[in-house]
């Protein structure tokens, strides 16, 4: 009985591989445990305290680039959220800009115009082959050489450009503005149903409707109409140069712009190559067939080529989004207050909890990346061929 069990384990392929896999996992777990054990022991031996209590201690420093209120009396935990939001802000803005730029450049790369095609080619080859850190520092240095604050360059006397950022008026919402906002939301929902209705009508009758123009008009003019009905419940707080700086209004800091330009221009070069390969992957016959049907060239691109190209584009595009998000941790080089800079840098230094903080920061990046992957995978499924193609 016993020998047969051993025999089974050794000679049966399935149970043998199961045994080996269990062993490997077990060893790995022991390995991790020993490292953790040893680290804890070493920390204790050197008199370094550890734990996560520091999260509730007040941070003691200020962060100027922030989306939520933060003062030096707030906790390290709140500093973490300030940094997280800044990371997400640069990641989202960067991905959007990089996608737009990447699609445009990718299509230009395939254009028949020699000059445009080659300008795009030079751009792609240059940006792809220079480290992104250097590019970020380059754009930041250029932004720092903008006029000084006292000589800020006025644009329409409303916006002011200086090396401390772009100052713009900030909106002040007065009573009744919420109705304007809701009318905007309702308009969007309405156009969604209108689009479905007009599409089905088109399928029935064959008549085409300018859906895009109708919907744009509805979305734009409904809130404007309500804005006037409600008696213009919106004012602007204009920035005024007072003392050292502009007072009032909003500002986009050069650190943010430097990161945005650096990351999106760099990533757009990769995305453009992805887009190009996607478009090339659609067989020539598709284009020729649609042209033979007499479709406009913009229709050929939008209705025939791009939907098929997306199947090829989405998976590598996902990894570009992930790269951009992870590269946003380079903000530390130019003082952009992202997660690594504020929480992972300043808090780390004030509290000395290197292991704990790095663990939190790494887990955060992991979560962000996994969420991006997941949502892109869902989107990817929706653009793949349905059924047996």
């Amino acid at each position: 009985m016993q020998t047969s069990l051993i025999r089974k384990i050794i000679f049966d392929e399935k149970s043998r591989s199961l045994l080996i896999q269990t062993l490997v996992i077990g060893l790995f777990a022991i390995f991790i445990y020993l490292i953790a054990q040893q680290t804890a022991y070493n920390l204790e031996k050197r008199g370094i305290s550890s734990g996560f209590d520091f999260l509730n201690i007040s941070a003691g420093y200020d962060i100027s680039i922030r989306l939520i209120p933060f003062t030096s009396e707030d906790t390290h935990l709140r500093a973490y959220f300030v940094g997280l939001l800044n990371t997400l802000m640069i990641a989202v803005c960067g991905c959007i800009l990089a996608t737009i730029l990447g699609f445009i450049v990718g299509i230009i790369r395939l254009s028949s115009n020699w000059l445009f095609r080659n300008i795009a080619y030079v751009y792609v080859e240059f940006t792809r082959n220079v480290p992104v850190l250097l590019q970020i520092i380059l754009y930041y240095s250029i932004l720092l050489s903008l006029p000084k604050i006292k000589q800020a360059f006025p644009i329409f006397n409303t916006f002011y450009l200086s090396n401390r950022g772009l100052f713009s008026p900030s909106p002040i919402f007065k009573e009744g503005f919420s109705i304007v906002f809701y009318s905007f939301v309702i308009a969007i929902i309405f156009t969604f149903f209108l689009k479905r209705f007009l599409k089905s009508k088109q399928e029935q009758t064959g008549n085409q409707y300018p859906i895009f123009f109708i919907n744009s008009a509805i979305i734009i003019f409904t809130p404007i109409l309500f804005y006037y009905i409600m008696g213009m419940p919106l004012e602007f707080d204009h920035p005024v140069l007072k003392g050292f700086n502009f007072k009032g209004g909003m500002v986009i800091r050069p650190e943010f712009l430097g990161m945005l330009f650096g990351l999106s221009i760099y990533t757009a070069a990769f995305i453009s190559e992805t887009v190009r390969s996607g478009i090339i992957s659609v067989s020539k016959g598709q284009r020729e067939a649609s042209q033979a049907l007499g479709l406009k060239s913009s229709f050929v691109m939008r209705l025939i080529i791009i939907p098929q190209a997306l199947r090829v584009i989405i998976p590598p595009l996902t990894s570009q989004y992930l790269n951009l998000t992870k590269n946003s941790s380079l903000g530390i080089a130019i003082g952009y207050a992202d997660l690594v800079h504020g929480f992972g840098g300043i808090s780390l230094n004030q509290t000395g909890r290197a292991i704990e903080i790095m663990l939190i920061v790494m887990l955060t990046y992991l979560s962000i990346s996994l969420i991006i992957s997941l949502s892109m995978n869902i989107y990817n499924k929706s653009v793949q061929f349905k059924g047996n193609a």
Partner: protein, 341 residues
């Protein structure tokens, strides 16, 4: 099967050995002697305090503390390897044992001394946080700085002092965090910020390197206490003693008027403290586990505190700092070493 077994055993052995290496900690003094040189954590480059000169040789008053320790341990002040550290990694580098001591304009605070497992052994420069502004702003006091943009080096006590100062005075500011000294200089000179704040010594050192140093003024307000001093790992008091008394020897040297020029003559002095310091009266070196001429080596090779100060940051250098608080207690400062007996 045997293959897997042997793999398992070897893995366990490797783990055990690496754990043993990580866990073992001999005395730092023995380690340093065995290695034949001192590993000293220094600044990445702060003129006058710790920076390589044109010939690539490290110089400065912080560097002189490292040299003094090397002179005490080896009788040769040049047996030092400098490990440049940023403000962010300096403590980790020391804790991990990569360096034997940290001498890098580091402020002695309670939490660093206690919570980070460090041991500050003394103060080699009494500093305080100051503000530097461009002269053409016409600012004469730090209380006029409401709304200003402030360049600040991250990961320092400076940030907390700054936040406290502006809060206490009901003023607002925009903080522009930068990673290193040179980045702060660049941002300040480009006009990204109105004010550069750090320890006053650092401001003087930075200003000395500007195209037109006279166009910038360090405001009179000093908003914090920043006692800068060398630190070692907690739990090795023997090594802490050696570093502490190497620094003290330089200060006592100045008190007793012993410098690198007259140290040999002073051996014939009839002041008993001089004779004890220079090892003519034997026995004090042995208490520290050093040779009796350890302090003689420091004073002859590195010099006393005053020599180090005047050579690197004094009024005759581009850094141009007055002794101020850093004068001896009998000259109106607060520099004071316990008696050598």
């Amino acid at each position: 099967m045997t293959k897997i077994k042997s793999l398992f055993i070897s893995l366990l052995l490797t783990l055990g050995v690496s754990a043993a290496i990580a866990g073992s900690h001999g005395s730092t003094h023995d380690l340093v002697k065995e290695r034949g040189k001192l590993m000293c954590g220094s600044n990445t480059g702060l003129a006058g305090f710790g920076a390589p000169n044109d010939a690539g040789v490290w110089e400065g008053i912080d560097v002189d503390v490292c040299r003094a320790v090397a002179a005490a341990v080896f009788g040769d002040a040049s047996k030092v390897e400098y490990v440049p550290t940023t403000s962010k990694v300096r403590f980790t580098v020391l804790q991990s044992g990569e360096i034997d001591m940290l001498s890098r304009n580091t402020t002695w605070t309670l939490s660093r001394d206690v919570d980070l497992g460090l041991e500050f052994v003394g103060v080699n420069y009494y500093d305080g946080q100051g503000f530097m502004v461009s002269k053409d702003l016409g600012v004469s006091s730090a209380s006029e700085l409401d709304g200003a943009s402030v360049c600040i080096q991250v990961g320092t006590t400076t940030e907390m002092n700054l936040a406290d100062f502006f809060k206490a005075n009901g003023m607002s500011y925009e903080s522009v965090p930068v990673e290193t000294n040179s980045e702060a200089d660049a941002a300040y000179l480009a006009g990204r910020c109105d004010i550069y704040t750090t320890d006053a010594s650092g401001l003087y050192a930075s200003r000395a390197g500007y195209p037109d140093p006279s166009a910038h003024v360090v405001l009179p307000e000093i908003i914090s206490k920043e006692p800068l001093g060398p630190a070692v790992r907690h739990g090795d008091s023997e090594w802490a003693d050696i570093v502490r008394w190497s620094l003290n020897a330089m200060i006592i040297g100045e008190e007793l008027g012993i410098n690198s020029g007259n140290v040999d003559e002073m051996k014939g002095s009839n002041n008993p403290e001089v004779l004890r310091l220079l090892g003519v009266d034997a026995g004090y070196g042995a208490m520290l586990g050093l040779s009796d001429d350890w302090a003689y080596n420091i004073l002859s090779q590195v010099g006393n505190y005053s020599e180090s100060f005047e050579k690197h940051i004094g009024p005759n250098t581009p850094i141009n700092i007055q002794r101020g608080l850093n004068a001896l207690y009998k000259d109106g400062g607060i520099l004071y070493a316990p008696p050598f007996r």
